[in-house]
Symmetry: C2
Subunit: 343 residues, 2 copies
DNA sequence: CTTTAGCACTCAGAGGATCAGAGTGCTAAA
DNA sequence: TTTAGCACTCTGATCCTCTGAGTGCTAAAG
């Protein structure tokens, strides 16, 4: 059904997208002939452009304005036409350098990575914390800070560390803390979240004595909450205000709508998720189901932590985005991050 | 030198500010007479307004436009004139309710509080983590997660919990971990940051054996880094995009400039810091030293944690801000937060 | 059949010109 | 001291015009 476009049409489309990305103004036939410095005349280009519009790759804001790429046009562009952007030597290095200082704090690193991607691409960035399948608690620790307050620390299988202060209704001895520690690590480590049941708790209580049951229950509650939270995969948005760099979002409500829409969604369902076959996923304009994202594009990619968990990094920007540059930088940053985390 | 304004002038000024806050349009003499429903004529008001302008409380965008309050005008307004805003029953409660769920995680709570203030006031919010004077480490904990990696956890005197993963160059036995734990807690707790010196480290090594020195050094380094970081008092900005609600920031560069300016400053020096005598500090327009803040106002207040540390919460907004409502809500939220943290 | 030159046509946006209305300051009377 | 009245100022809205970029179509050229 769908005919392959002629090579010339593709070149013209490419020229239009390239030009539009640069100028943010509708592109006319003249501009195209200049950009393609082949000896083709503007009239010919006009004919081709009319054709491209009929096929849905271009749109015309009004008669006698130039053409603007449609989502379909961008799609063809990113899939087939765009130049590979070659990174200059130090473009990413500095960022990765500085993030390596953060290595010890995986949680912090997530948001920090977002910040850097935002800076690197000059667009708002999206970061999603790394999670592996079947996340579990690897290690519990109960730390007594004073008479009747303890800190619960748990380390998950993907090296995320979470903690919480618990104030108890009664004082606790060092011995009891040790007992709680032992019980927790004996019975509740490396168990997937679904299996943290009451049965197990009862069993642990039997073995370790009832006194510590309050801590146990608190710890298990906490653990299951944390694990659930991890499963939910919070979305962090960094550098939101950079969206204002782009004239297409200068209209009052527009930027707000976009940003709120991303901040409010607390599932990752609306993001284009990368997989093995598509390490960088791009969702363009109207390809987004959610209304306020209709004139924005999202690029997402992933990185892996030492434990094999997969984190997501991406950017949001105007549909007219420098896909080549942005996706190259994003991908490279994510790759460097993976390397760093796995070395 | 500075003459006290007549009561009538004050009422007129108040009417102008009230009106301008609502409408964002320069206020004319007519509007003032309507607002003050006393039987004063617009001509009289005009005379008074001319006077107020001469005294620096009002400004005129151009002849034959109404007047707009100057920073000085707002200053008088917030110091003397504005109505106390009375909070309705449930305005704050819901927010506090939901934040109480977060109680266990002080770090998280900080940014969460910022989010809520932003929502409550519909303006960008500033949150600064609580710090008490002479912050120190109250408790260390070394958690072994596998052969040669440990997690260092430290609890500071103001209940902040920080952690970091350390990968060592050699395997570590449980015994050594216990020894490190003991040594850290014996020698390095409750010691103000400045005194975490090499001497102490050497001393601890002597007593505990050299094998664990690597952990000790890492822990101490980490501790001093964390304490320094705490001292630096990071500034968290939430709900940045809400600034776009205000037409005065619709001009392209303006919102960006403001937000960047706040995000970039990593000291709290530029914020109006509350103290005992001024629990809510307001800095208005040109009172801000920093250029991009010149047509914005900042309101800051503080809350106290259970450990007596002081956290900051505040908002940024247009100079034309509903000072009464915003500061009431902010203050109330901070107070509720204090109560919650201290109960 | 494809390309191109030429031309008439369209339309948005820039640049005036006009005008109403809001608001002022001043003067003179109350 | 207050106020009514009035002349004056200035912005912002509205309307018009006009330019120029860009188009589609036609007919000739390749």
């Amino acid at each position: 059904m769908k005919l392959e476009l002629s090579e010339r049409k593709k070149q013209i489309l490419k020229a239009i997208v390239d030009d539009y990305i640069q100028t943010a103004e509708p592109v006319g036939s003249k501009a195209v002939t200049l950009r393609l410095n082949t000896n083709i005349s503007s009239a010919t280009v006009r004919n081709e452009m009319a054709e491209l519009e009929r096929l849905g790759y271009l749109e015309q804001p009004h008669t006698s304005a130039g053409r603007v790429p449609s989502s379909l046009g961008y799609r063809l562009y990113v899939d087939e036409l765009m130049n590979r952007y070659t990174l200059t030597r130090h473009e990413i290095e500095d960022a990765v350098q500085s993030i390596s200082l953060r290595m010890g704090e995986l949680d912090r690193l997530i948001t920090e990575a977002g910040r850097m991607v935002s800076e690197l691409t000059n667009q708002p960035a999206i970061a999603v914390s790394p999670v592996s399948e079947g996340e579990a608690v690897r290690r519990f620790e109960v730390i007594r800070v004073d008479e009747s307050t303890v800190v619960l620390v748990l380390v998950t299988t993907s090296d995320l560390i979470k903690n919480r202060i618990c104030r108890l209704n009664f004082p606790l001895s060092d011995l009891e803390v040790t007992a709680a520690n032992r019980a927790l690590n004996a019975h509740f480590t490396n168990i997937p979240i679904e299996e943290l049941t009451d049965v197990r708790i009862a069993q642990a209580e039997n073995e370790s004595g009832m006194e510590i049951s309050e801590i146990l229950v608190a710890a298990i509650d906490f653990a299951s909450e944390v694990l659930h939270l991890l499963m939910r995969r919070d979305i962090y948005l960094s550098g939101a205000s950079r969206i204002l760099n782009y004239p297409e979002f200068h209209e009052p409500g527009k930027a707000m709508a976009l940003l709120e829409c991303i901040a409010d969604h607390n599932t990752i369902d609306f993001l284009p998720l990368p997989d093995e076959r598509h390490p960088v996923r791009i969702r363009i304009g109207t390809e987004n189901r959610i209304a306020p994202l209709r004139d924005a594009s999202i690029i997402m990619t992933s990185y892996k932590t030492a434990k094999g968990a997969t984190g997501l990094l991406g950017v949001v920007g105007p549909t007219r985005m420098d896909y080549a540059k942005v996706s190259a930088r994003l991908k490279r940053f994510a790759d460097e991050l993976s390397d760093l985390l796995n070395s």
